[in-house]
Symmetry: C2
Subunit: 345 residues, 2 copies
DNA sequence: CTGAAAGCGCTTACAG
DNA sequence: CTGAAAGCGCTTACAG
């Protein structure tokens, strides 16, 4: 590794103090235009880049942001949401000289330890909070740690009790789940099931409430709800249980695409024709949705854009101490071949 | 954020110099057992954790390792390999106090810039090199930057030309591809196609060579090879082209599971029965493989374990300046319902 | 507008 | 075995 130019090298070459170099390069007032330009030219010529660790030590800033994901490592790969979300975050960070520190913890027990370590080591200046839960323990924890955060979706009421709310980046999934449910009702389905993610996650119960309301508005019961952990495995077994019912559903709404694809697999396994005997819908509209058979009707949420927006908000929060909430375009249905008219009874 | 205890606080509380605290906590010789224990107790009582940035500045070490992925962000989520690999890396880092700095760059053009920035900013102490390519430009680049690295799989010969080779963690995929091809031959297939990843990637051409040899040993031609970018989209279109052939294949070997699943989708779309009319195999044995219909025969590569092993090797390389290569258990076939006897001609 | 100096919190020769 | 001090490369009041 060839020796890097330091601020001292630049200062010497420019015949000024290193303090002035720092001011010039950081766009702070109090440097003559002439000196500023000259210092910048010299810095560029020397290929000078400030040392992140030295800056960090001085400014008590790490120039890195964190994402802690609490899902079983084995199954993280199954759900395309996070990779796409991360890609969106990266797109913004790349231009801002920020790094993403990623942590995958198997379960929610070790989660607190990771956040505490991240804070104690000052590894990151702020974090992304995904998969919000009811009474989410991370919110008081992060407040206690004084760690800035942005949440994906709005956390529970809190009634203004918490010190200062975190900025929120929402992508309203309600219109999507309402539309996909209504789409099935319009196709004549009367027995519609919902295979959802973990109840403790806000989005799962929020979506299920929207699902139930839409059914209720049509005078239909929402009694077929199965909770899963978002894995294809549980998606398949939930499907099996639903299809075993005497009064089995003619349509199933799934909480993510992998579970829906596993549902398609199981239905085929049992000799059902799709969508003639059973309609199926997914969530997130992953790449594969288009290419399974029958092509999967899904709800598009755009995790990539969500990542970009969240990154910008978090960066602003860290830099300025506050940031406005952002509302992204709501989720919407993408209709494909996996949904069709209800079978005649 | 409550003020953290610093080394000075510990030194004062213990009535010793901070140098001695540093020695005691870093397990260096020259500290009396008595003092060492006392200092450690006090450090623990004060909940002292050394500042990463201060250490970094002193030791010129970042205590972070990097992974740069050059794939289109839009499609990164489709392939479960990386999330699982990352989860494996994390499992090791968590206990070692290391952080993973992840970078997703859309294309290979910007790749060099990212590595240079990572090196110039001393963001990471070393990197993981995945998806090795022919004449891989990253290898000379990393040597130039003096950046330690571990490669997944063995890079091309090099004939001992490079300064010092990087340690390698291999998971030999040849036995897997040979076995899956032989499996199809044994089932009576004579027209077997291969839908592979980008030719410039070593594993794609290495696997294709193994594929061709296995066919050749059985007196069969390996003329049906289609190159893709690993996306489900190209997996589907490659399948379409193969099925359009007059002398179309009765079996298709795919380079990853998403492409194979898309292949299943397209075959069904065209009214083919699987495996009666067409046998299909995937690669990596992702979670979904088990749950599609028909369940996908695949080649298991265990990205999670690969990540763990690579993390350990990289950590050792950074700490000690060298590390031995590691050979993981080779890939092997997992036979499921998507492969069956060749249709009678 | 500019310079000299202190300080961030560690590690590490150097003396004793 | 232990202490005092320099140094890592920045930023930031403080003087002028």
């Amino acid at each position: 590794m060839k020796r890097k130019a330091t601020i001292n090298d630049v200062a010497k070459a420019a015949g000024v103090s290193k303090g002035l170099v720092s001011f010039a390069l950081n766009d702070r007032p109090g440097v003559s235009a002439e000196n500023r330009d000259r210092i910048r030219d010299i810095a560029q010529a020397l290929d000078y880049r400030p040392s992140v660790s030295a800056r960090s030590l001085s400014t008590r800033t790490s120039y890195a942001l964190g994402l802690v994901i609490a899902r079983d490592p084995e199954i993280l790969g199954a759900d395309p949401f996070f990779p796409s979300f991360i890609a969106g975050v990266e797109r913004v960070f790349l231009h801002e000289g920020r790094a993403l520190v990623l942590s995958v913890v198997g379960d929610e027990q070790h989660e607190a330890t990771v956040y505490r370590t991240l804070a104690a080591d000052a590894r990151v200046d702020g974090v992304f909070l995904t998969d919000l839960r009811h009474d989410d323990p991370r919110i008081p924890l992060l407040h206690e740690l004084g760690m800035p955060a942005v949440t994906l979706g709005r956390p529970e009421g809190g009634a203004g009790s918490e010190p200062r709310p975190f900025p929120v980046v929402t992508l309203d999934d309600t219109p999507g789940i309402v539309a996909v449910t209504q789409h099935l009702i319009d196709l004549g389905h009367r027995r519609i099931a919902h295979v959802i993610g973990p109840h403790r996650m806000l989005h799962a119960s929020r979506r299920n409430a929207a699902f139930a309301q839409t059914l209720a508005a049509a005078g239909l019961p929402a009694d077929l709800v199965v909770e899963t952990d978002f894995t294809a495995e549980q998606g398949a077994s939930a499907t099996g249980r639903l299809l075993d019912l005497a009064d089995r559903p003619t349509a199933i709404v799934y909480g993510n695409d992998p579970m829906a694809i596993a549902g398609i697999g199981l239905a085929h396994e049992r000799g059902l024709r799709l969508p003639d005997d059973l309609s199926i819908t997914g969530f997130d509209d992953s790449e594969l949705a288009r290419y399974v058979y029958p092509a999967l009707t899904s709800v598009r949420t755009d995790p990539l854009r969500w990542g970009e927006a969240a990154a910008r908000v978090l960066l602003q929060l860290v830099a300025e101490g506050s940031a406005a909430d952002v509302d992204l375009e709501p989720a919407r249905v993408v209709t494909r071949a996996s949904t069709g008219p209800a079978p005649r009874a």
